[in-house]
């Protein structure tokens, strides 16, 4: 339709005539800009797959014309209709970005100097295998640490690290969702989903669903926001999009959500307005909660949160009236402080008091194939087989995760990222010599990058797999360009909600310049290092078939449709109408139904030590006295500084991943710091002024954005900017990375990174 030429990678790359190994061409070393045009495929097709522009894994469909991906939309049958967010729609802008890496690089200058030569995968794999082997021989396998964002890259990495013999595997969890993951596991024995769309009341604590977009959640919460008979109440220090769509917004002081929840619980317990039958039947420890919240009154919280006492009374009453169709949302990483564990536990328990577990419009366990087969007393959905079973070495970790001590409750494959610099620099408990990173850039996403960089600089060997020349890639000895998610076939993923479903990632286009996936990278390296005896698969196809236990029909269905469910009706164990519907379809399920017509037995065999919902957790109390039940803890985040710097997500970018992607960079290329006009006046700051933000960790330049949308004692910044890699040409030097001002201290129990921090303003 348009005569002008598209911003087409073929066109762009055809003008650059690079020779492997050469520098100074139009494209920067190792990037796609150095390739010449090649395209031989013709025809149009649509491919179902899964997104990876954030962690959500929404179902997508790509339109591919003549071998080139032209458009991404939602996969209709996946439940979100055609919807895809800005980041998801920009996947092709990353795929065809001339600044993207497509050739391995080997360091030739000093570490961190940014001098590399282009190499083949063969050369890169040879060097990695040689150096990893040498380090293993000289210092032991445990001296090599591994980190990745969770997902398949993390799964493949953990199996590889286990084969290699290192216990030191890390994920991004401790810098993000670790608190709710651990708290849910401890309290109810596993993860829970939120039935947003059917709720009549949502109390939200800064869970920024319209900016940290998860499409299905955004749809559900929007339904509540628009329903005149339902209510959305948001506590958030800044006026977010979610706050703007809420029925009520309360600008809570950062880090003090816990006080509000404790007061809410106090009111319910004081007035006996909670689901006593539910608490009696399914929980342990209510008496400890009564004791710990006896003086956490609405008046008490007013001085801490800045929210009037009568608001707590009103919210408590309103929620109780619509319970169990209510959700008190524990959020994701909701930028709190040391109180995050207690806050998240208190919120989970607030739900429990309303008896909303396994109720429509409440919260629920996802019903995967095993769960429904158990409920139906017959096989109605095929469970996935676990393909990799390579045991982890039993040696102590550098951060002591999962071992007696401060990180006892931190899951071993996730670890505590903020403990890494100290372990490396102090050589305690032992020396670290190497680091393998994939889909992970802790110099942007983890606190105190200066200290982290200092630690990295002491290492003998660093490997980084990334799509871009990230800050960590600049520190590497070998940079392996990773195929983007649009060029990768991957395993079958769980997508169960109230009924089982599976999805699969299919490659939409052939990998540009044969870039490799995590499967290929780790499988190849395992072979080269001679440590692959534990592997039972060779290719992604064999991995998939093993997962599906050879079920070819299901395999084909998944590949062709991208999403498969089994026509199983939704099930919530104690929602009578859903139990009725389930039993009607599967009469054998009647055996699991009690005299009330419910499957309550499944709530009495939870995977917790007591088999019940643990309001009080004995093992936590034993190691962290006072923390077994939610109570008043650690709510000061300013620590004597006049202002609190808090951070959050935008719908346009994902953490530290997307800032350089053309489509998204065009929409947002900076992150000025929000400051209230009253504070700006006091500090003599005008909109657009540059100042320093300073605390005990560092002093950083920041451009200020004067807005009414933030508390006068709070500063707000979107995440992921302040990039230092010069190869991220669009975003280098733009904005502030708040990580630079965050301390390496961590929240108790879960080892969570502190993301609310006190700062002062100093004139530039």
């Amino acid at each position: 339709m348009n005569k002008y030429s598209r911003r087409d990678f073929l066109k762009i790359s055809s003008v650059s005539t690079a020779v492997a190994g050469a520098t100074g061409t139009l494209g920067t070393l190792g990037t796609m800009g150095t390739l010449s045009a090649q395209n031989t495929i013709s025809g149009t097709k649509t491919v179902p797959s899964i997104c990876e522009m954030c962690s959500t894994r929404c179902h997508i469909e790509g339109r591919v014309e003549n071998g080139k991906l032209e458009f991404i939309k939602g996969l209709k049958i996946g439940g979100n209709g055609d919807s895809v967010c800005a980041r998801g729609g920009s996947g092709l802008s990353q795929l065809y970005d001339p600044q993207r890496l497509v050739k391995p690089l080997i360091r030739v200058g000093e570490r961190g100097e940014g001098k590399f030569k282009e190499a083949t995968y063969e050369e890169a794999f040879d060097l990695i295998a040689k150096r990893m082997g040498e380090i293993k021989n000289q210092y032991g396998a445990k001296s090599f640490i591994f980190s990745s964002k969770t997902g398949v890259s993390h799964n493949r990495m953990v199996s590889f690290a286990n084969s290699f013999g290192s216990p030191n595997t890390f994920s991004h969890w401790s810098s993000c969702p670790i608190t709710y993951e651990v708290a849910l596991e401890q309290t109810v024995g596993g993860g829970l989903s939120r039935d947003y769309g059917n709720a009549k009341y949502i109390l939200n604590f800064g869970h920024n669903i319209f900016e940290g977009v998860v499409i299905s959640w955004a749809k559900g919460v929007m339904k509540v926001a628009q329903d005149p008979s339902a209510k959305l109440v948001v506590l958030e220090p800044r006026f977010s999009v979610l706050s703007a769509k809420a029925d009520e917004w309360y600008a809570v002081k950062p880090g003090t959500d816990l006080a509000f929840v404790l007061a809410l619980i106090h009111v319910w317990l004081r007035d006996g307005k909670y689901d006593k039958a539910f608490v009696e039947k399914y929980t342990v420890g209510i008496e400890k909660l009564i004791e710990s919240t006896k003086d956490t009154t609405p008046q008490w919280q007013e001085a801490i949160t800045g929210i009037k006492a009568e608001v707590v009374e009103k919210v408590a009453d309103e929620i109780h009236k619509v319970a169990p169709k209510c959700i008190i949302d524990w959020g994701h990483k909701t930028t709190t402080g040391e109180s995050e564990y207690q806050r998240t536990r208190a919120i989970i328990i607030a739900n429990v008091l309303m008896g909303n577990l396994e109720k429509e419009g409440g919260i629920y366990f996802s019903k995967n194939a095993s769960a429904v087969n158990k409920a139906a007393m017959m096989d109605i959905a095929p469970p996935l087989a676990k393909v990799e079973n390579i045991p982890a070495p039993k040696e102590p970790r550098i951060d002591g995760s999962g071992e007696a001590g401060e990180n006892l409750f931190v899951p071993k494959t996730h670890g505590v990222l903020t403990d890494i610099p100290k372990a490396i620099l102090s050589k305690t408990p032992y020396e670290v010599k190497g680091w393998f990173m994939i889909r992970h850039n802790p110099l942007i996403t983890v606190a105190n990058p200066k200290e982290m960089k200092k630690a990295m600089a002491t290492l003998d060997f660093i490997v980084v797999c990334d799509v871009y020349m990230s800050e960590c890639a600049q520190m590497a000895d070998v940079v392996l360009p990773e195929a983007t998610y649009l060029e990768r076939d991957e395993e079958v993923y769980e997508a169960s909600s109230k009924a089982p479903a599976y999805v699969i990632r299919n490659k939409m286009v052939e990998p540009i310049n044969n870039t490799k996936s995590a499967y290929e990278i780790f499988r190849t390296l395992a072979k080269r290092l001679g440590i692959d005896s534990g592997y039972t698969w060779d290719t992604v196809e064999s991995y998939r078939m093993a997962q599906l236990k050879g079920n070819e029909t299901l395999y084909k269905d998944l590949v062709n449709k991208g999403f498969v469910n089994f026509g199983i009706p939704p099930l919530l164990y104690i929602e009578k109408k859903l139990v009725d519907g389930f039993v009607k379809k599967y009469p054998t399920a009647a055996e699991n139904v009690d005299t009330d017509g419910l499957m309550s037995k499944f709530l009495e065999e939870l995977k917790t030590p007591s088999k019940k919902i643990e309001i009080f957790i004995e093992e936590v109390e034993a190691s962290f006295p006072g923390y077994g039940v939610p109570g008043k803890h650690d709510m000061d985040v300013a620590k004597g500084f006049p202002y609190i710097l808090t951070s959050g997500k935008t719908a346009i970018h994902t953490n530290g991943h997307t800032q350089n992607i053309p489509f998204l960079n065009m929409l947002m290329n900076d992150n000025p710091v929000w400051i209230n006009p009253i504070t700006a006046k006091k500090e003599n700051i005008k909109n657009g002024d540059t100042v320093y933000l300073e605390n005990n960790v560092d002093k950083e330049k920041a451009k200020m954005f004067v807005t009414e949308g933030v508390r006068p004692d709070t500063l707000f910044v979107y995440m992921g900017f302040g990039r230092e890699s010069k190869e991220l040409k669009r975003t280098n030097g733009m904005g502030l990375s708040q990580s630079k001002l965050l301390p390496l201290t961590k929240g108790p129990i879960c080892g969570t990174m502190i993301t609310n921090v006190g700062v002062k303003i100093v004139k530039a």
Binding site: M1, N2, K3, Y4, S5, R6, R7, E70, F71, I72, K73, G74, N80, D82, S83, V84, C85, A86, G88, G89, S90, L92, S93, F210, E211, V213, I215, A218, K219, M222, A225, Q226, F239, V241, S243, A244, K245, A246, D247, E248, W249, Y250, A251, A651, I652, P662, F663, L664, M666, L667, N676, I678, T707, E708, G709, V710, R711, P712
Partner: protein, 187 residues
Amino acid sequence: MKKYLMIFDENLCVGCQACSVACRSENNVPDNVFRLQVRVGTRGVFPNLAMDFKWQSCVMCDDPPCVTVCPTGASYRTADGLVHIKEDLCVSCKYCMVACPYNARFMNPITKAIDKCTFCFTNRVAKGEDPACVTVCITNALVFGDVNDKKSAVYKKALDNPLVFPKAHLGTKPKLAFIPNKKGGLL
């Protein structure tokens, strides 16, 4: 006879820019120019605030000033009432850009012709699909269709809601309507 209408519900929009990205992707919009944007702004005094989500694109006037001023016939109105640009007739005089009350037109930095939203007419709507922006919207803030078709979603949406036509007083009769924001932050 078809009467196309696009409705943008400000209450449902979250300003996520999925529409803008879909437009760029579908129509190969050159870097750093936009056929459509959602502009988000906060008003009020803390903590009594509201957030506005304003749609910015061609509104497909039924009586389009850009067509009237075009000296070459490059800007034209179709039988369906849509406004398009014939690139090969465009001499980039920019009269239309000045005449447009909606600031919806820009010069394409590659073709140097004037460019704007097309409702994705030839590439999607003519094939029975929705425009790209409507297709991807994560909260269904956009509805598009033939408002003369009483079975259409757009007819129902128009019937159930108060529609505001931008700068209606100018008599341009836009085929893009807004449902104004009802919500602000409270307390």
